[in-house]
Assembly symmetry: C2
Homo-oligomer: 230 residues x 2
């Protein structure tokens, strides 16, 4: 048994029929042309399906909006990187020399992609049932400790729901400014709620994030008596 | 065999062990609280996984960017609605009276959602292998006739690649104007390529679409001698 096969047995509780697939999943594009990018494409879809299935059966009273938000939380890069770190995946990665020197085995995007590629590799190697079982094992603790549905809603959605309950028109968002070069853009968005005579601002690296920040400020203003309140 | 079960057998080539699941998948939220939204959530993920698997094995030389674009084309609303229409899915839908009167059984979003819900229902009823086989049957013609990878790239990507090949800096996009109420926004975006002394404009209902239009205009200007060329 090779080192990586032993690692997979210990941490994934899975034994590859084709150990070649395991090496393939652990190979970053900085190392070789035959890398884990295609397996990552596949694994991303397999993970999404396995998590959707787990949530569908576990959260029987959750509506599809809640299910979608729970899934987004479980499959996002930060969560995947955290799971990958817990299983010491970084030490198994096959990186190019540049990535190796700059600490690529600790980079969250590389870790998250490799974990998806591993799920894809198990799917190719053992079929959907094996990949599904792997996802259930990896995510057991996360699935057992899901945050309350309400906490998963983003600020824009919460603000929208709050205003709808008051029969107030939807807030208006507008870009106030957009500065910086293409790769380091900075957005300022204004959120206006005419009926409340309220105007808040939010900043962010994307229009979407700036809108969320502006909505969060509006929520705070409406709930807490304004950003300047104690 | 009920009418819908007969339809499913004829058009999906699938016989439900639990016909109740089939009715569930065909019930729009305008009709009943127990509707197809949760199954649609699940079916969307199952479809994504099955299509990813089909593409992964069929398109062995495609990189993950091409695979992603092919999948996006296959699972987008328009494609799903076209497939649903071909199998007369609209006639099987269980709609509320309002949707029924306003022609909801022909609406592409309702048709696409219901087809996803059906895939989810087959997954719950028969497991992944059955759902995968269903997707392969429904998509057989589409998978056999995929457009060339090059044609799948959007205008921004093509422009970016063209400029990279010329070692020219990336184009700069900026919102020139944003008008209209929240639900009917109108964006004008400018695309600037300093090295070519080129400035083009694009309009759209979203920032993204306006950027694509501006990029398409830039491509035309660079390839064809300008929008005013013959």
């Amino acid at each position: 048994m090779t080192g990586s096969a032993r690692w997979a047995w210990q941490h994934l509780n899975y034994r590859f029929a084709s150990p070649d697939l395991l090496d393939h999943a652990l190979t970053h594009k900085s190392r070789a042309a035959r890398n884990n990018e295609r397996l990552e494409f596949l694994g991303d879809a397999v993970l999404g399906c396995a998590v959707a299935d787990a949530l569908y059966h576990q959260e029987q009273t959750a509506d599809e909006g809640t299910l979608s938000r729970m899934r987004a939380l479980l499959v996002r890069r930060e969560t995947l990187a955290e799971l990958a770190t817990a299983m010491s995946l970084g030490e198994q990665l096959r990186l190019g020399s540049g990535e190796l020197q700059s600490g690529g085995h600790r980079r969250s995007s590389i870790l998250a992609d490799a974990l998806e590629a591993l799920i894809g590799a198990v799917f190719v190697d053992g079929g959907f049932a094996e990949a599904h079982a792997l996802v259930q094992r990896i995510y057991a603790a996360k699935l057992a400790d899901l945050p309350p549905p309400e906490s998963l809603k983003d600020a824009k959605t919460l603000l929208q729901e709050k205003l709808q309950a008051e029969s107030v028109a939807t807030p208006e968002y507008a870009v106030a400014s957009e500065t910086g070069p293409e790769h380091r853009r900075r957005f300022v968005v204004e959120c206006r709620i005419a009926e409340h005579n309220l105007l808040t601002r939010g900043k962010g690296v994307s229009r979407r994030r700036a809108e969320q920040a502006a909505a969060a400020a509006a929520l705070q203003a409406l709930d807490g008596g304004g950003p300047g309140a104690p």
